[in-house]
């Protein structure tokens, strides 16, 4: 059975030989420890927009990641803008918010884009959202990953 999330369905077909008569009808365990996608700053919302790819377990919904497995995770975000401002004073911030709590600074960006990461110890069911400098609009499609470590 699926020890991680406990919802793997198994069907037994008595017309098949012994070894082949058990088939998995939903196998999710192998993908619950990594979730990747693209991201961008929507501007008006002030929250990093997360667009999952290959997220069969729907760990990311409405720009929020829900932890499926307790343990250490590394959150990776490649974010920013492709080109643009050259004014040194123009800086933007990206934070993370755990379970709707206070904003914790993740990184600052000035007219560029970069990969940033944070290791977090999460409990199953914890949620993460990424408030960013409100009003910032960029077409840069970055990338994110929630990676289970141990």
């Amino acid at each position: 059975m699926d020890a991680k999330i406990g919802d793997t369905n198994i069907t037994i077909n008595d017309s098949q030989p012994v070894a082949a008569n058990v088939v998995y009808t939903s196998a999710k365990a192998s993908v619950t420890n990594v979730c990747i996608g693209s991201c961008s700053l929507a501007g008006a919302s002030g929250v990093l927009t997360l667009t999952p790819i290959d997220d069969v377990d729907r760990l990311v919904i409405n720009n929020t990641f829900t932890c499926p497995l307790s343990g250490w995770w590394i959150v990776w975000v490649n974010w920013g803008q492709a080109t643009g401002d050259t004014t040194g004073a123009t800086k933007y911030t990206l934070s993370y918010s755990l379970n709707g709590g206070a904003n914790v600074l993740l990184s600052k960006m000035e007219s560029n884009s970069h990969m940033t990461h944070v290791p977090l110890q999460l409990q199953k069911g914890d949620t993460l959202k990424f408030p960013a400098t409100a009003g910032r609009v960029t077409s840069f499609a970055g990338s994110y990953c929630f990676e289970f470590i141990q």
Binding site: T11, V23, Y24, T25, S26, A27, S30, V31, N33, V34, I36, G37, I53, D54, W76, N78, G80, Q81, A82, T83, G84, T86, G88, E110, S111, N112, S113, H114, M115, T116, F140, A141, G142, S143, Y144, C145, E147
Partner: protein
């Protein structure tokens, strides 16, 4: 050249360091410090080589220079990461792109104003896919390589292996 034994991962990683830099007190990761026994398989990393006239960057892996990463060893989810230095106090962001095999270029990130930084992307790949890294050779009248732009190191690692995944019926 002199072989140096560096206890990096498991005490067996061997670097070969170019004599021109071997007496320097600080060694930047570069093609002058080639990893000859780097990890293989699902985790690969190496140093940056020269930028080609096409804008693509050479990547050095275990002493072999190529215009692309090694091929993905299986279907899966991958992380491609590059550490770059923009060696200019010049405030115009320089865009980087990547492509999968011969596909279209997609934005990877921008470096800026004397920064030493990481840029990267998370991808769903098929076995055998390779990643190419691209940057304009000339940007705002500055010729990027070798003066203003350096790739110091890169990594290409598998996050999830799809090839052994149980099939759903």
């Amino acid at each position: 050249m002199t072989d140096f034994l560096v206890d990096n991962l498991n005490g067996k990683t061997v670097f070969k360091i170019d004599p021109s830099v071997q007496n320097e007190t600080t060694l930047w990761p570069s093609s002058k410090m080639m990893m000859l026994s780097a990890a293989t398989g699902s985790v690969m990393s190496g140093t940056g080589g020269a930028q080609l006239a096409t804008g693509y960057w050479n990547l050095v892996y275990k002493g072999v220079t190529s215009g692309q990463t090694p091929p993905a060893p299986s279907d899966g989810l991958y992380h491609f990461n590059v550490t770059h230095l923009y060696a200019s106090a010049y405030g115009q962001p320089v865009p980087f792109s990547y492509c999968i095999n011969t596909g279209a270029l997609k934005a990877l990130g921008s470096t800026y104003y004397s920064q030493y930084q990481d840029i990267g992307v998370f991808l769903s790949l098929r076995k055998g896919d390779v990643i190419k890294l691209w940057e304009p050779t000339v940007y705002y009248n500055l010729t990027m390589y070798p003066t203003y732009s350096r790739i110091y190191h890169w990594s290409f690692r598998r996050l999830v292996d799809r090839s052994n995944e149980i099939s759903a019926f």
